[in-house]
């Protein structure tokens, strides 16, 4: 029996569509990567050709002159802190919504989910005045608290849905075994909810890493700014040197790519998982 079937028109069409889709995702990265390693004359000669040599000087310039590593560190502190705080609060809140329903929990849950649809910018100006009074402008804390708050609704929505699929029996077994509230969270909810928690951590990290408006308003000094805000200055400062801009952007994407690679297994598991056996 011939196990290989000849491709029919539908599968060829589907393959072509996915190929175009994949290329549209990959091409900007490819374009950024090749141009980040070109000299300025090389870039203007042909933006689509491969670089003549593996030249990393644009990257070293971004670090030595633009001091992008400081902004990278700011972004890292803000993003990692936001991920950790969101995860901690989100897991606890979602466990309560999923497994320990209380009078009015449905209404509270809906209110939290509703707040997801409120644009960030609406609260930004009042928050600016608030943080200004508290002396928190140009501190990571102000941005972290804003980003955590903004990330909580989607976190709660995702984790609550996932935690609901954890069998009640397992939670009750832990109660009988002697676990208290945090014992259940630590020993049952966290390990059994890992795929969803990892997916959410990735989303929150990418969101906070790429967040522009909040840090732009709350972080006004260059040395306190996140890499995304700082990179926006590149447009003016290096407007005639796109390879520098590309190098800066390439550096800024590295953590997100690492994050994806690190959580890739959980991402697939978390997105596809619907039931726990």
């Amino acid at each position: 029996m011939n196990s290989r079937r000849s491709p029919n028109l539908t599968s060829v069409l589907i393959f072509t569509v996915f190929l175009i889709l994949g290329a549209s995702f990959v091409f900007p990265f490819y374009y950024m990567a090749i141009n980040a390693m070109k000299t300025t004359p090389e870039y203007y000669k042909s933006t689509f050709s491969l670089p003549g040599s593996l030249d990393l000087s644009n990257f070293t310039t971004m670090i030595s002159q633009f001091r992008i590593h400081i902004n990278m560190m700011n972004s890292l502190i803000i993003s990692v802190s936001s991920v950790l705080i969101t995860a901690l609060l989100g897991i606890i809140a979602s466990y309560v919504f999923a497994k320990r329903r209380f009078r009015g929990s449905g209404a509270v849950y809906m209110a939290i989910i509703f707040s997801m649809f409120m644009p960030n910018a609406v609260t930004l100006i009042p928050l600016y005045f608030l943080y200004s009074r508290l002396g928190l402008i140009n501190t990571s804390l102000s941005v972290i608290s804003c980003l955590v708050t903004a990330s909580m609704p989607s976190t709660i929505m995702l984790l609550t849905a996932y935690f609901r699929s954890i069998p009640n029996d397992v939670v009750e077994a832990a109660v009988i075994d002697g676990c208290g509230f945090m014992g259940i969270v630590r020993n049952v909810i966290f390990p059994m909810g890992k795929p969803a928690i990892a997916v959410n951590a990735t989303f929150v990290f990418l969101r906070t890493w790429n967040e522009f408006l909040t840090p732009l308003v709350l972080l006004t000094k260059k040395e306190t700014q996140t890499v995304v805000v700082a990179l926006s200055a590149l447009v003016g400062r290096y407007h005639s040197d796109p390879p520098y801009q590309m190098a800066g952007l390439a550096i800024a994407t590295i953590p997100a790519v690492i994050m994806y690679l690190f959580f890739q297994r959980y991402l697939v598991e978390g997105v596809s998982a619907g039931s726990l056996k």
């Binding site: 029996d169 109660v175 009988i176 075994d177």
Partner: protein, 365 residues
């Protein structure tokens, strides 16, 4: 080990649904008590209240004489085996069994001893490093039982632990749990909807329906002296046959009269049905108390049409029709029965049970 006592326990859920009504049960030390009843009868709710997983709306629950209504589950010194095993999927079998002891900060050596001892009892020693997903249903159930054993609790609670197993494995595990009870000499409370499990495992059976306890007793006591029609029909397989009859007196003899037959009332039932002369009453007879007769016996036999023949090897189940009632008989294999046969059957009237037509309560001496 411990005595468990439920005094007037009731459970009302939000919305006013009363799941358990005024339950009074005394479970003696080392007793194996089975709560049995159809779905929604309140048996699991009762067990969960004993476990502390449900709040008690009304009444008192004591374990070893100590009121535990407001004591959290972890402090009640109970262990529970769940219907779906409820093993921690991310832990190995060893860790699943050890978890309760670790939480209670037992020394490592003690935990190891207890886990290995329980694994030996349950014959799961070779599975200790496996995760639950790598186990069969029967093995998972053993691990769930092992998790309870290692705790050495005062009371073991089982919530329909065998209902997810296939028929053969269920019979095997039934025997193993009974053997375990004999070995551990522990107080065990077991919930099931399967009356065969209840009859074969329980020292004492609590039959429940619609949140009310119908009857508490030992298996044979319930079988032979059911307090009402529900218990009579629920305990026993195939179930007891029920027929609407009228009591008539002819020549000093009392007869149970149906449209198509009349049989004389005998023995202990005579004084019990006497007040019902001329009235309707329910006549109950167990399938094994119907005997085939090759000739008609006036006033003793019933003419019945055989509709379904179920040969089971050791015995035959006959599903029959009197013309007004469906009956089932459990008969030996010494006669060949055919569908459509009209045969005479003699009910053992000494073992018949009559029920009041209105209250459905059994007329017992």
């Amino acid at each position: 080990m411990a005595t468990v006592e439920l005094k007037g326990i009731s459970k009302v859920y939000d919305g006013g649904v009363k799941a358990v009504n005024d339950a009074n049960i005394i479970i003696q030390d080392r007793e194996f008590v089975v709560l049995v009843g159809p779905s929604g009868c309140g048996k699991t709710t009762t067990l969960r209240m004993i476990a502390g997983l449900e709040d008690i709306t009304e009444g008192e629950l004591t374990i070893d004489g100590k009121l535990v209504n407001d004591v959290p589950p972890k402090d009640r010194d109970i262990a529970m085996v769940f219907q779906n095993y409820a093993l921690y999927p991310h832990m190995t079998v060893y860790d699943n069994m050890a978890f309760g002891l670790k939480i209670r900060k037992f020394p490592k050596a003690e935990i190891d001893n207890r886990v290995r001892e329980a694994a030996k009892i349950l014959d799961i020693g070779m599975l200790l490093e496996r995760k639950p997903k790598a186990l069969s249903g029967g093995q998972r159930q053993r691990v769930a039982v092992g998790r309870a054993i290692v705790r050495q609790p005062k009371v073991f609670l089982f919530d329909e632990p065998l209902s997810n197993l296939d028929a053969k494995l269920r019979v095997q595990m039934r025997a193993e749990i009974s053997a375990l009870h004999n070995r551990l000499q522990a107080t065990m409370i077991y919930v099931t909807h399967d009356q065969v499990e209840a009859m074969t495992m329980g020292d004492k059976i609590v039959v429940m329906k619609d949140g009310f306890i119908q009857q508490i007793g030992d298996p044979l006591g319930l079988y032979n002296f059911p307090i009402n029609r529900f218990v009579a029909g629920f305990i026993g397989s195939p179930p007891m046959n029920f027929m609407d009859v009228q009591i008539a007196e002819e020549g000093g003899t009392l007869f149970a009269v149906e449209k198509n037959f009349r049989v004389a009332v005998t023995g202990r039932n005579i004084p019990l049905v006497k007040p019902y002369i001329g009235k309707n009453i329910i006549f109950g007879i167990r399938p094994e108390d119907l005997t085939f007769s090759d000739r008609e016996a006036p006033g003793k036999s019933m003419k019945i049409t055989v509709e379904v023949v179920e040969p089971l090897g050791a015995e035959i189940h006959l599903y029959m029709n009197t013309g007004a009632h469906q009956l089932v008989a459990r008969v030996p294999t010494d006669h060949v029965y055919k569908v459509g046969d009209v045969a005479s059957f003699i009910p053992n009237m000494d073992k018949a049970i009559f029920f009041d037509a209105e209250t459905e309560k059994a007329l017992l001496p």
